[in-house]
Amino acid sequence: MKIEKILFPTKFREFAFEALESLLVLKDVGLREVVLHYVIPREEVGFVPYGGYLKDEEERLREETRIRFQDWQQSLSAHGIGSKIVIEVGDPVPNVLALAEKEKVDLLVVGKKKKTGPELSFVGSHTLQLITRSTVPTLVSKHMVEYESSGQMVTRLNDTIFQRPLLATDWSEPSGRALELLLSMKNVVGSVSVCHVIGVKIAKNLDKSGLHLLEKESRKRLDRYCERLTAAGIPAAPHLGAGRSVLEIIRIARETHATMIMMGTTGKDRLHEFFLGSNSHRVAEASELPTLLVP
């Protein structure tokens, strides 16, 4: 598992280019091409009531986008990274997923929204659909975020995201793949914190001795993760948490001054996602840190 090709769909929101720039360090671990993708929403140009299709408007949007992307391309080629521009009319989510499959990309990068509204989420509906359905590792990039901490608004700049990643594992296969991906990035990663959370659902069914046994087993597994990382030349430290998984992961990330959270994610069906959600998706929604989800 190695990141050689990135799909970067964008709506040209604030800090989109800075978010792309912060990924260019991956050139040191094999990044060779970025696919710049813009989807003109079909509703913007099609289905004019009783009028049909705005061909001129589509052309204008295509040209505007091409000019912006060409500016980005110059910067990418200055870093020695190739690039390709794809501009299409369609529905953003399926078009992005289809292009990721067609181009066989190794990483999909999606943006964040401002943390507003009653749900206080960094993830919009399109991003949530993408991270739920993507079959390739997906980074929810949060280059600059504003969030409330201790009653105050804090602005955070996430520009060195690979410096101190936190790998949150539940021992699943996707978590194993997240570890492999992390190992492939050893030249750009400074140090890693590896954490596991003994969740409430499991803990409440165990007595004290059962819990101790689980704790011992969990620490052993954490050490094994860390040993693999250390053996690859990446300093790693284990952290065991207990309680509500999402809150614990976010707490540990803050305490370890992590620059990104990496997690494995299992594909949930629509009903499961609707009623129970997914820890990885909730972390992506709630944390102020970029979140890299590995399916």
């Binding site: 079909r42 509703e43 140009v45 099609g46 289905f47 004019v48 009531p49 009783y50 009028g51 049909g52 299709y53 705005l54 061909k55 408007e57 009319v89 369609g90 529905d91 989510v93 399926p94 629509r270």
Partner: protein, 485 residues
């Protein structure tokens, strides 16, 4: 451009508001004099139809003159005309106006949108996949199937199901424009003439008492129109096919067998047909909703239609709808525009129902023969939307033959005593909808999808003068001679 449009809009708004404020004065006098809603059609002044005309002209002209403005502001335009009518009408007629507004919304608009929405949702869950290679025979077959399906899944549903496969099948062909034009003629219009599910005007007729299977009387008219058009299409396609020098279909090695995904949606489609049929046959009494009496069977029908749509949404995989490029936008547009149309057409309908006593008595006197109804309903349907036009001329016919008679009774009398008139109105509204892009809602959806897929489509006038007027005009003359003279 945008500023000048805004300035013009402001001027129009001011002028109309002033003119229509005066509507309240004679109307208020009439209401004070004891005029209930039965008298509304007699006392309403002719200028009270101006918002309706404005609404329909907006639909006709804005997409041509200011398509970008229209695309982003059509909801505001619809709301403007609705307010311009509703405020003075309520001021003038008070309770009677409120009753008419609630009646048209609850008894016509809501069922209309529910039917269109459920057909659109269910048919959007059916995906035709596989490798089709466009030959004259195959294309004619697709058009024939679409024509048959249109009466059962709606012209919109059939068009959405088949337009993308037709375009994909003919991606290798040089001349594709005429294919889409004939598709609009047949699948998006003529094919929808046999049942109230087929085309919105016929469903509005059904809501007013026209029996479900009565529209099957249009079968001969439909067969003549479809027969001529399909034959002409085949000959044209064969001509272009030979001229393009295609000796064999291109083989890119990616042959995929033809199959239908989401076919379980046909069960929901059958559920929709069953629900509409049921509401036409059952009589379970009335219930009052906000003072408006509605048949229990009609409310149950609307509930079942919503249920069919919800079931379709629940069981159809999201990826299938995405492959169909399913989006809610077209149905939202219809819902937004038609609330404006339904509200603004209240005075027009009431005046026409008043017969010779109403301000449009001259129109009723002028339109006498079935031939007149066929052509006038048709030509107005082509340039306005065909659903309100159908209702307008149904009211004209009823006002002419049975002035003052209750609507449901007048419809039955018209069917029993003068069915040729209703046939002429129905055929005119459905068939002429194909004459322009704005005649029927699916026309613009098909055009939009074709242009997005890279098929060049003629302009509004190009479509009218190069294709529809000469071809459809000839077909309509034949139909007139056979059926209405």
């Amino acid at each position: 451009m945008r500023k000048s449009i805004m300035r013009t809009s402001e001027t129009i708004i001011t002028a109309f508001t002033a003119a229509l404020a005066s509507l309240a004065l004679p109307a208020a006098a009439c209401a004070a004099g004891g005029g209930g809603h039965a008298d509304m059609g007699v006392s309403l002044p002719l200028y009270s139809v101006l918002p309706f005309a404005g609404m329909l002209l907006s639909i006709a002209l804005f997409p041509l003159l200011a398509p970008k403005f229209w695309h982003h502001h059509f909801g505001k335009v619809s709301a403007f005309w609705a307010v311009v009518l509703v405020v003075p009408l309520v001021l003038g007629y008070q309770g009677a106006a409120v009753y008419e507004i609630l009646h048209i919304v609850l008894a016509d608009y809501v069922p209309f949108i529910i039917l269109l929405g459920s057909l659109y949702t269910v048919s959007g869950g059916i995906l035709l996949k596989g490798t089709l290679r466009g030959t004259p025979a195959l294309n004619t077959g697709i058009l024939a199937i679409g024509t048959i399906l249109a009466s059962w899944m709606g012209t919109t549903g059939a068009a959405m199901l088949l337009i993308r496969p037709l375009l994909r099948a003919n991606a290798h062909r040089q001349n594709r424009t005429f294919m889409v034009v004939f598709f609009i003629f047949l699948v998006a219009n003529v094919g929808g003439s046999l049942t109230p599910l087929g085309d919105p005007p016929l469903f509005l007729g059904f809501l007013r008492g026209v029996p479900f299977f009565w529209t099957f009387h249009l079968l001969p008219h439909m067969l003549v129109a479809a027969g001529i058009l399909l034959t002409l299409y085949y000959l044209l396609d064969r001509h272009y096919y030979r001229r393009e020098g295609i000796t064999a279909a291109p083989d890119d090695g990616a042959q995929e067998p033809i199959r239908i995904e989401g076919s379980y949606n046909f069960i929901f489609l059958a559920g929709i047909v069953g629900a509409v049929l049921m509401s036409g046959m059952a009589k379970w009494g009335d219930i009052s909703i906000l003072g408006i009496h509605r048949g229990v069977q009609d409310v149950v029908r609307d509930g079942l239609l919503v249920l069919m749509a919800i079931l379709s949404l629940a069981v159809t995989p999201r990826t299938l709808r995405e492959a169909n490029a399913f989006t809610w936008f077209p149905i939202q547009e219809v819902a937004i525009l038609f609330i404006g149309i339904f509200l603004t057409m209240i005075p027009c309908l009431k005046i026409l129902q008043a017969g010779s006593q109403g301000e449009l008595g001259f129109l009723i006197a002028a339109v006498r023969e079935p031939l007149h109804y066929f052509w006038i309903t048709g030509i107005l349907s082509a340039f306005l939307d065909n659903a309100p036009t159908y209702l307008t001329f149904l009211s004209t016919a009823m006002g002419g033959f049975y002035p003052g008679v209750a609507e449901s009774e007048a419809v039955m009398l018209l069917i029993e005593e003068n069915p040729l008139y209703l046939l002429a109105i129905s055929a005119g509204a459905v068939f002429f909808g194909a004459l322009t892009y704005i005649g029927n809602a699916p026309n613009f959806m098909v055009r939009s999808i074709a242009e997005e897929a890279g098929t060049p489509m003629p302009t509004f006038f190009g479509y009218l003068f190069k294709y529809s007027a000469p071809i459809l005009g000839s077909v309509f003359v034949v139909i007139s001679i056979i059926f209405f003279i």
